[in-house]
Structures are given as structure tokens and as C-alpha cells.
């Protein structure tokens, strides 16, 4: 999976003024690193989630495996791998196999264009700033897998593939709970994709580019969250629905649907769906960080700017914490309310936000 991701995203790097083998090696290394980082993050987010849930519910949470429960994710992983791969009779054998892989694949692919630091020049003179890239005699190191013109569109494209995983997973299970969950989930994803697309138009208008690294550069001095507070709220709200999180986790409303589209999946097949959900959380929080929170930029001017990746992780981590906090605080919405909220509240607000932003950009 990771290999394939790398081979696709290397394309955009090929035009760099460096010999092809070096570029390829760097891309492979970055790809492997990103996949491992995401996998680890997803694993430990499950632990974090349980810890936070426990704190909110005045419990202690998992603390038996390893010091303070730190090895709990490893134990869970081993458990999932060795579990019986129970599967329903009458399933569609091919799609039942493919769906979990598709879910995890789409989640991993989406991260490819997110820059976690400014482009730097290794072993040469120069560097990268807004619109200026120079690197005499050295190697230009991008801190994303693919520094492409259309980074944001790429993410939208890849995440829209996630719908197939969910729908096919639910459909191929040959179970009514799964099918209902899949239907709900697909409808929800498609509806809230609109809200997400509308919300991100604000930063695009302000930055005048779809290149994520350039968007961060444009926020030097003033993060877009201060210019786009509504845009940020809209994006972050819709992100809950896009990741199927409470209060929008209707697809797997356990009271009515078992576990929704992945009810019938067991063992590592279930694990992949689970994994995909947490990676998607990381992705949406990273996008929010890049679009609204100034990406790798230091939060306060006197803090060192060379700690870019640290600032990035800190901001994304803060958003991830908020997502978990919300999950254990708010009740679930009713399904029709969810759809109404998406189409009749988020969408018009997003549209208004675009109009106001466009006027602002035009008269500026």
C-alpha cells in the first residue's frame, strides 16, 4: 500500500533539478516514514482516546500493558491479527476483501501533499520562501511527499475515494445493518463533502493558490483562522462528519445498527477500517492546521521557527484532542437533523463566507 502511494506521488517531484535516482530514493524514504508515522499515530490515538474518555468519565483507563498502558496499542494489534477472521455467508468475496484495504489506502494516500515544514536546502545555498525557491548546489528537500500545484484538490480527490470503501464494505457484507450503515455513511460523506469544499474556498481565495506550502507561507504574520473564523468553524464541524465521529457518527450508531458498515468485519479486516478512521482524523486535523492555523509557523514570534514540524504536530494534536473531547461530551444527532444541518446550515453559511471573502479579496 505504502509503496504504491509513493510511486504515484513521486511524479510531482520528478521535475526537480536533481538526478532521478536521488529523488526516487528520497521519495521512498519519505513515503515509508509517513506510512510508519501515520500507523503509529493511529495506534496511539486509540490509546489517547481511551485515556481521555476515561478521564471525562472519571475512570483511569487502560494502564495494565506497559508503563501507564503505553503498550496497549501493540497488544491490541497483536490481538486483531490473531483473531478469527469470521465472515458472513453470502458475502461478495472479492469486494469483502478489497473494501478494508481501500479504506486504509485512501486514508494513507490523502496525506501525501501535506507539508509539515518549509522546504529547505540541504548542502547548498539558498532556501524557500513565498514564491522564491533557490538552492545552489544543494538538494531541495520538501517536507511533504509531493509538492504539487493542486495539493488541496488532490486531497479532496483522494478522500472522495473513501466513500467506495465504506459503501462497498457495507454492501458486500450481505447484512442489513451493514447496508443501512453504509447508505447513511455514504450520504453523509457526500453531503458534508460539499460543506468541506465550500469552507476551504475561503483560504484558497486569500492565498490565491492551491499549493499547500504556499498557503502556509501566505499566513506568515496572520493565520487565516483570524481572517476566516467562520470558515474554520465550518471546516472543523464538517470534519467531524467526514470522519464519522460523534456527534455525527450515525453510520455506526451502535444502538440501532450494531457497528454500521463494518459490523460484519472481524480481525485485521476490521482493524483496517478502524485504522483508516484514525488516520482520517489525523489528515483532517492536519489540513485544518495547514489552511487555518499557519501550518509549521511558530505560534508566537519569539519562538524558534526551525522547530517547524514540532509546531505542526502540536497544532494538529490540539485539534485531535478537541475532536476526542467533543466525542465524549455531546450526544448523537438524529439522522434527519444531521442532513438538515449539513444542507440547510453549513452549506448556506459556507456560501455566504465565500461571497464575503471574495468581496474582501477584490477590494483589498
Amino acid at each position: 500500500m505504502g509503496q504504491a502511494a509513493v510511486s504515484v506521488v513521486t511524479l510531482a517531484v520528478v521535475r526537480a533539478p536533481v538526478s532521478l535516482p536521488l529523488t526516487l530514493v528520497v521519495a521512498l524514504v519519505k513515503g515509508v516514514l509517513v506510512v510508519f508515522a501515520l500507523a503509529t499515530a493511529a495506534a496511539y490515538l486509540t490509546l489517547l482516546e481511551r485515556k481521555i474518555a476515561a478521564r471525562i468519565q472519571l475512570r483511569i483507563g487502560p494502564n495494565r500493558v506497559g508503563p501507564g498502558g503505553l503498550l496497549q496499542p501493540a497488544a491490541d494489534g497483536v490481538k486483531l491479527i490473531f483473531k478469527e477472521k469470521a465472515a458472513p455467508a453470502g458475502r461478495d468475496r472479492v469486494l469483502f476483501q478489497i473494501a478494508p484495504a481501500l479504506a486504509a489506502g485512501a486514508a494513507l494516500f490523502a496525506f501525501a501533499t501535506i507539508p509539515i515544514n518549509r522546504t529547505i536546502c540541504v548542502g547548498g545555498h539558498g532556501g524557500a520562501g513565498p514564491l522564491s525557491v533557490s538552492c545552489a548546489g544543494g538538494y531541495l528537500l520538501h517536507w511533504d511527499l509531493a509538492n504539487v500545484n493542486i495539493g488541496l484538490l488532490y486531497i479532496l480527490a483522494v478522500t472522495s475515494m473513501g466513500v467506495y470503501a465504506i459503501f462497498l464494505g457495507g454492501w458486500s457484507s450481505n447484512s442489513k445493518y451493514s447496508l443501512l450503515g453504509a447508505l447513511r455513511s455514504s450520504a453523509q460523506l457526500i453531503s458534508y463533502e460539499m460543506a468541506v469544499s465550500f469552507a476551504i474556498v475561503g483560504p484558497i481565495l486569500l492565498a490565491g493558490t492551491l499549493n499547500l506550502e504556499q498557503m502556509v507561507h501566505q499566513q506568515q504574520g496572520l493565520w487565516f483562522i483570524f481572517l476566516q473564523p467562520l470558515g474554520f468553524l465550518l471546516y472543523f464541524t464538517a470534519a467531524f462528519a467526514e470522519t464519522n465521529r460523534l456527534p455525527f457518527d450515525l453510520p455506526e450508531a451502535e444502538g440501532e445498527l450494531g457497528a454500521g458498515y463494518h459490523t460484519e468485519f472481524a480481525g485485521m479486516r476490521f482493524g483496517l477500517f478502524f485504522f483508516a478512521e484514525y488516520i482520517n482524523m489525523v489528515t483532517v486535523c492536519s489540513i485544518a492546521t495547514v489552511l487555518f492555523l499557519g501550518g509549521w509557523l511558530a505560534p508566537v514570534w519569539f519562538l524558534p521557527s526551525w522547530l517547524g514540524p514540532i509546531w505542526f504536530v502540536a497544532k494538529a494534536g490540539l485539534l485531535l484532542f478537541v475532536m476526542m473531547w467533543v466525542r465524549w461530551t455531546f450526544p448523537r444527532l438524529r439522522y434527519d437533523r444531521l442532513m438538515q444541518f449539513g444542507w440547510k446550515v453549513l452549506l448556506p453559511l459556507g456560501l455566504a463566507n465565500i461571497v464575503v471573502t471574495a468581496v474582501f479579496v477584490a477590494v483589498r
Binding site: 510511486s7 504515484v8 511524479l11 510531482a12 520528478v14 521535475r15 472479492v94 469486494l95 504539487v148 500545484n149 493542486i150 484538490l153 488532490y154 479532496l156 480527490a157 483522494v158 472522495s160 475515494m161 466513500v163 467506495y164 459503501f167 462497498l168 454492501w171 455514504s186 457526500i190 493558490t209 492551491l210 499549493n211
Partner: protein, 176 residues
């Protein structure tokens, strides 16, 4: 680069064949999705990044999702198997060959292969110089709001009225 091209092209061809020969309709639709994703990768190898993204968002992400929905929910049974020498198959095959010839002819007519191996249209507004200078999205946006302003606005009107019509036809009868 050529490795990626070969892989994507192979996937595209196999997927396209899959659309035709698959026994279950849903598999045909999914093969079409795979075909479109492979085409998007081909666009990437041609430095048409915007086109690649839009190809996936519009076709694979929106149109085909609807196809898959409808097929899966109406769940048609397996299709009848066609004999390879049946008239329909032969005519279809001939049409496919003719189509390929026409497209190849048009492609060679409209496109010249630059020395670098990248394909460029012989036409003006998307000349590589401009695209490299302004970026793909910017060039496209500029074209859309100058040269193609009228088609652009007409399309938006078309989508609006299509939505109005669809709402009218599917709306429940009012109580009155």
C-alpha cells in the same frame, strides 16, 4: 516515468476490458472507476495535475459513486453471457476499432510530441510557457473567466435549472 506510464496504461486497459467482460454489473462499474483513476495517473505523467484531480473528483468521486449506488441498490442479477461471435459483439468490436482509429488520427493531428517527451497541444492558451509561468489552475481560471466566460455562465445556469427540474419532478405532492 515510463514505468509509471506503462503501469497506469496497463491498469487502464485491463480495467476497460473488465468493464465489458465483467459478469456482474457492479464489477463493471467498479472497473470503470479503476479505469478512471488510471487515466488520472496518466494525466499526472503528462503534467496535467489539475485535470488529474478533477478527473478523480468528478468522475470517480461523484458520477461513479451514483452509478455504484444505483446498481448496488437495484441489485440486478448476473448479465447474460454473450457468445463471442454474436452479431452484437462483432458490431461492437468493429465500432470500437473504428473509434480507436478515429481517436488516434485526431490525437496525432492535434498534438505534437515535444523533444522532452512531454505532449503539448498545438493550441495557444495552455502553451507550456504559460502553464509553467502561472500554474495550471491559474491559467485555467483565467481562461474560464475570459475566453470561456459565456460557456462558463451558461453551464451554471444549466445546472441550476436542472436542479429546479429534478426537484419539481421528485417533490411530493403538496397537500393543497
Amino acid at each position: 516515468m515510463s514505468v509509471i506510464f506503462g503501469l497506469a496504461a496497463a491498469v487502464a486497459v485491463v480495467a476497460a476490458l473488465g468493464v465489458v467482460v465483467a459478469q456482474r454489473t457492479l464489477y463493471s462499474a467498479l472497473a470503470l472507476v479503476a479505469n478512471m483513476v488510471a487515466l488520472a495517473v496518466l494525466f499526472l505523467t503528462l503534467d496535467a495535475q489539475f485535470l488529474a484531480a478533477v478527473q478523480i473528483i468528478v468522475y470517480a468521486g461523484a458520477v461513479m459513486v451514483l452509478f455504484v449506488f444505483i446498481i448496488a441498490l437495484l441489485s440486478p442479477g448476473a448479465q447474460e453471457r454473450l457468445h463471442p461471435l454474436e452479431a452484437r459483439v462483432l458490431i461492437g468490436g468493429l465500432a470500437a476499432v473504428a473509434f480507436t482509429v478515429v481517436v488516434a488520427r485526431l490525437t496525432l493531428n492535434g498534438v505534437s510530441v515535444a523533444a522532452s517527451g512531454r505532449f503539448y497541444g498545438r493550441l495557444g492558451p495552455f502553451a507550456p510557457v504559460l502553464v509553467d509561468r502561472h500554474g495550471q489552475v491559474q491559467t485555467l481560471g483565467e481562461q474560464l473567466f475570459t475566453t470561456f466566460l459565456l460557456p462558463f455562465e451558461l453551464s451554471s445556469l444549466l445546472l441550476l435549472v436542472a436542479a429546479v427540474g429534478a426537484v419539481y419532478l421528485s417533490r411530493r405532492r403538496r397537500a393543497s
